[in-house]
């Protein structure tokens, strides 16, 4: 198969994730879109590991998986905190830091 197949699929997933981050208002949906982006990066790393016949890419992918798990935990805790304080998780209503 072509080496570009995995990379193009990862690019498509990345762009869909970026669209989700831009378009969504619900904070949980934005976190899901970020998961799409992180998974596309992992797919790229695995594809590079396959292309170079080296497992360094797989090791990096494992690191990314661990960091993504930590990110989701902290992110959802923050979303819960925002929901508890404001009874809403719409991101466009969070404007306290606006100057």
């Amino acid at each position: 198969m072509l080496a570009a197949n995995f990379l193009l699929l990862a690019a498509i997933l990345f762009c869909i994730g970026v669209f989700g981050v831009i378009a969504r208002r619900n904070a949980v949906m934005v976190l899901m879109s970020i998961e799409l982006v992180l998974n596309s990066v992992n797919l790229n790393l695995i594809a590079f590991a396959l292309m170079n016949d080296d497992v360094d890419g797989q090791v990096f992918a494992l690191f990314v998986i661990a960091i993504a798990a930590a990110e989701v935990g902290v992110g959802l805790a923050m979303v819960l905190l925002i929901y508890r304080n404001r009874k809403s998780i719409s991101l466009d209503e969070l404007s306290e830091l606006k100057g």
Partner: protein, 185 residues
């Protein structure tokens, strides 16, 4: 796009077909994640995307990463997401106002970004093909191709031991931080 995906170069047609089917399912599921009106449905579509990614890892001869993907993402992260959805939502069913007001702006951004990425990828790889699957052949001892898992363990515990310990501290800090943030007091 499909022409590129299905461009069988005579090396491994089954791999191409499997890749195409899984990729189509993944793209449809990912589009559903960012376009559905129901938050719970979005989480379930995301499960399909993550499972597709795991299948692609197996196709790319990365079994250990595929199993890690299934355990960490589909097992742990999705449970976290479902808890997050159910703790922050009042209603079950379709919901209004999930998108921003100017959400259409995301479409040209995504399309332009994909054009740029596709140009770079095609410029970088050209007509390179992946001919040999797997890192090393089957071992004599077990007859199973588990060389890459052994190699991953070697790399993580020798060459990348310092980032590995750093990652453990990041996970510890994230767990403690999540507890501190979400705790009621």
């Amino acid at each position: 796009m499909t022409a590129v995906i299905l461009a069988a170069d005579g090396v491994n047609v089954a791999m191409n077909v499997g890749f195409g089917i899984i990729a189509a399912v993944m793209i449809y599921a990912a589009l559903s994640v960012v376009s559905t009106k129901n938050v719970v449905h979005a989480a379930l579509w995301l499960v399909l995307v993550l499972a597709g990614v795991a299948a692609q890892y197996i196709l790319a001869a990365a079994e250990f990463v595929a199993v890690s993907q299934v355990m960490v993402y589909i097992g742990a992260v999705m449970v976290l997401f479902l808890f997050g959805i159910m703790l922050t939502r009042a209603q079950i069913g379709a919901e209004q106002g999930l998108n921003n007001k100017g959400w259409q702006l995301g479409i040209p951004v995504a399309v332009v970004l994909f054009g740029l990425l596709a140009f770079v990828v095609l410029d970088f790889t050209g007509t390179d093909t992946i001919e040999q699957l797997g890192l090393g052949g089957p071992t004599e001892l077990t007859g199973v191709n588990n060389e890459s898992t052994i190699e991953i363990a070697d790399r993580v515990l020798f060459q990348y031991i310092a980032p590995f310990f750093g990652m453990t501290f990041v996970l510890l800090a994230a767990a403690i931080g999540a507890i501190v943030l979400a705790r009621k007091d």
